[in-house]
Symmetry: C2
Subunit: 656 residues, 2 copies
Amino acid sequence: ANATPNKTAHPFERSRLESLLFGRFFYAPAFDIYGGVKGLYDFGPPGSSLQSNIIAEWRKHFIVQEHMLELDTAIITPAPVFETSGHVARFADWMVKDVETGEVLRADHLVKNVLQDRLDRDRLARDPAFQPKKEDDKKKKKAEKDKPKAEPVKLPDEVVAEYENILAKLDNYGGPELGELCQKHKITNPDTDNKVTEPKMFNLMFKTSIGPAGDVSGYLRPETAQGHFLNFNRLLAFNNGTVPFASAQIGRSFRNEISPRAGLLRVREFTMAEIEHFVDPEDKSHATFHEVRDVELDLLDRHVQESGSTKVARLSVGAAVDQGIIANETLGYFLARIYLFLTKIGINPKRLRFRQHMANEMAHYATDCWDAEIENSYGWTECVGCADRAAYDLTVHSEKTGHPLTVKQQLAEPIVTEREVAVPNKRLFGKTLGRSTPVVTGLLDAMDDAQLLKLKGELAQGAATIVSNDGQEFKLTPDLLTIERRTFRQTTREFTPNVIEPSFGLGRILYCLLEHSFWSREQDMDRGVLSLPALVAPTKVLIVPLSTKKELSPLVAEITAKLRKAGVFSRVDDSSQSIGKRYARNDMLGTPFGITVDFASVQNRTVTLRERDTTVQLIGPVDDVIATVTELVDDTIDWTEACKRLSIYDGVQAVE
Amino acid sequence: ANATPNKTAHPFERSRLESLLFGRFFYAPAFDIYGGVKGLYDFGPPGSSLQSNIIAEWRKHFIVQEHMLELDTAIITPAPVFETSGHVARFADWMVKDVETGEVLRADHLVKNVLQDRLDRDRLARDPAFQPKKEDDKKKKKAEKDKPKAEPVKLPDEVVAEYENILAKLDNYGGPELGELCQKHKITNPDTDNKVTEPKMFNLMFKTSIGPAGDVSGYLRPETAQGHFLNFNRLLAFNNGTVPFASAQIGRSFRNEISPRAGLLRVREFTMAEIEHFVDPEDKSHATFHEVRDVELDLLDRHVQESGSTKVARLSVGAAVDQGIIANETLGYFLARIYLFLTKIGINPKRLRFRQHMANEMAHYATDCWDAEIENSYGWTECVGCADRAAYDLTVHSEKTGHPLTVKQQLAEPIVTEREVAVPNKRLFGKTLGRSTPVVTGLLDAMDDAQLLKLKGELAQGAATIVSNDGQEFKLTPDLLTIERRTFRQTTREFTPNVIEPSFGLGRILYCLLEHSFWSREQDMDRGVLSLPALVAPTKVLIVPLSTKKELSPLVAEITAKLRKAGVFSRVDDSSQSIGKRYARNDMLGTPFGITVDFASVQNRTVTLRERDTTVQLIGPVDDVIATVTELVDDTIDWTEACKRLSIYDGVQAVE
């Protein structure tokens, strides 16, 4: 029972994982019989199931537990919405073209790949045993075919330092800087050695046209967020007119990536889950922050990065907020909740960090942003962004459309202020000033306390003259008006809420989870295992009848029915393959538990329970095994506890 | 407890329902602060929840219960896929333009609206009390503003008959016929009285371009089906190489409708659920057909429609298959399963019929098709299509790409055949014929039994001459070859499966369900109720503390926790509104049960349970009420049974 498996006996190989994932149809490149389209993937049965289990847990963890208001809004969006939001102008990447072949490359990726390659060659020159990090498989293959092996080339120490500095700050550069870097460091297309053009903006939204006349242009949304903002007034009404509240949406979004790569990590179509938490800009505290105050995170703040370092600091969320590293409680609250969600579904906490955006890197709408980055074989990948969008979106949409998107708050304590006002003598004022009345009224209304007090003094002396903007003079006398001190009570306050936005790329999370879960049996590298937590595993329990003979069917049916009643999703594998092969296949599918039914089971009403990672088997009465596996799946007990409740199976079950 | 509510006291009014749905944010027109885009809607909290409950039940009813293979495939699809599938050429509607204003209208809708209007005026002339069916509210409003009220205009009897005949067959007309109808019956744009152009095809797919170079064109899928077909080989492998099996997918699809109308019934973006059931073309029986054999359906077959009638026949699925009205068991099986699903989630079975497509109406890929149509205030609307696509899709994709999309089946009994073959004398054949060898071999291989026997006869006589296609003659002698009878054993069979496709428009089903569930309290027309079944209701139980005082909080928290543990989704309404208002609001949201907690509850540990439709309240100990409401929600008991378990609440609960 304590046969702890050695999960690191074989080093991680991405090609091995991918062959499992494509082979078992977790997912696969879409349209491959048509030659495929980069950045588009189809999810097969186990992948769909894993994805919907992750979504179900997300819904429970965020929407249900925090009473968020769920939305499902349109994907096709008329152009004016994204013109207002700034996406038409600024939701773009910098691209360069190979001057000879016309091949399009993302400018920041080009700089990164070329400089990294030079640094690797330098390392190799200094230390012949050095192994450069694996690149994208496909790229590597191409490089191997087309080019001689990387030659060691030693660089001067100061150049190494300069390159490292550039790489640490890479996300901070705009197009012109990237162009300068290409020139200064003679960066060319590595596949052709040709020069590249100056960086140009390429908008990442897919465009289409709506309706038969073809004159209404629209975009596929690149995020779900605008659908929340445009419905702000409906959501506010649903929440009885008060903030804070959060809306949430799970749905498809689209980005026309310049050169999609790295499998599910950079795709053109993806499922995301977004929360827009609307909050009073003057009070970004969070009611249940105390519940997460002690959660510890690996933080990489902007100052550390701007100094050229990537060293994380481990800190409790409470301390980080207290020290001003995280700007406010609400932002901190969500970072902690994101951490709890990711680790719950199986992300390795040691490969999870929170990185703050640097100033130039931030999306145009954000005032602060932290990414949950997960380490995987491609490096550290942004999987969740958590941005403070301030009042940006609600303000621009409101200004553009003329519809106020604000909160009117009844003040608990009215705000009482005193100030001077000019009180006209109704009988004489208009009569005396005639057509000049509105101009004079306007001038008086525009005066502040000091000006009114000055006027009061002049009137007390007999008369005053006020001058309009265009130089007209008006004489005022004490019979026309008096200046009085009055008290004002303000009972409501109107404000545009700020928005804190946690935004999850579910495909990226799913892929990192698969990498973190994958290992091979020590005794056989070809026997891959996906150690997915039961919470998200596509199937929770595999029921394996030892034989296809009919005698076993009633017990198999009984176990299936009882598991279904207990809410545990099981599958029967009654194929004719050996029991070992059937289990091996389900280890690859990540199925955490197996129940074997044999002829002794029918006689004794006992079955065995197998745990995926250790392959240890326990034995017990049918109903005890069902009760135990239900608790294991619900995570109310662990395997150690299960071993106490049932007996170790020694491989022999007597048939009397 | 038996206070059966009178749900038909007030006639159905769509505007009243819509004001509830928009007001409570079930859904609302998308982008309305930007002036809106026709045919795009956003779902708010109760609508999203209703939709995901319908999807959850669909997944259980179809995918889980029938072990279907779930998919989630790409929406953006490269153009060649839809060129092959026929969508680029034929997935189109016929549109006409107003010759003066250029307004675009769908040709079939124009014919239908104008003729229906004429028939209504005729009815009015014959019977002044006649009330024409309500049209789309918006259209009605416009008509009321711009036009005089419909005048009664009597038509000759034979014209009435002709119009009725046209309307019954409307879906059977193509563009040219619709053009002729417009000419013959002087059909003009009703808004302007202008003539319209000849009908032209308008493709209903949204187009976009993929990648930075802009040279890869693609479409947003108008259905999820192609994603299943292109993955056929992966799915087949997942199912161990055998048919029948079904794949299933729930996802967004897009159709660029010419003039979207009728709310959620005709939209440009929608969530659909599709099943592709792959089956041996020579055996369309279904293993569990016996389970649904006795399900009775209202059927409207193609012959009845082609005779100009819309009279349904009520028949068991078994009888309909036996009589050949439904083509095969698999099609019949799915029609019955569709019926069971729709009625389970709350569709009124009396307003549900199955209509067979007429020959010209069928989609280009279908060989037979039945629609589940649901009656609502707009008429009978197709909500589920159930088509036999035969081998169309797999065949065209396979031919286009060169990838076989077939099943290789091991035959239980090998097929043994005998036939004549030409056996060359290895030593002499090539040597004698020299460079002609391949030509002669080809000619011999192409011969059938009769030709070979004739050749055998000639050889027996000494020599034979065979002639190639281009007239070359070859002399054959008995020493070169013999003709022998041989036995062949075929152990596998290769075939392209047929596809039965049930395809669900979830938004349409959701809207019809809302219409079927809506009524107003007899005593107050403004108190709308949505009698949604607990299975799909957004919230199952509303917990209502009678006061906001702290004493009630622990009990409210206890009930919430116990309901959550029992898997029942509840919400607490602790707003300061009166209890009556809080219940009225939740009747509009379709919440089936309410638990009221007051001060007596704390003392006695008893709470009341309220049923939405009757407003009857029962009382009992906390745990009994929780157990009862859990069973009510799980549909294992009904309200009559609940009334036996708990006591009728008389409105007074003693506080000692």
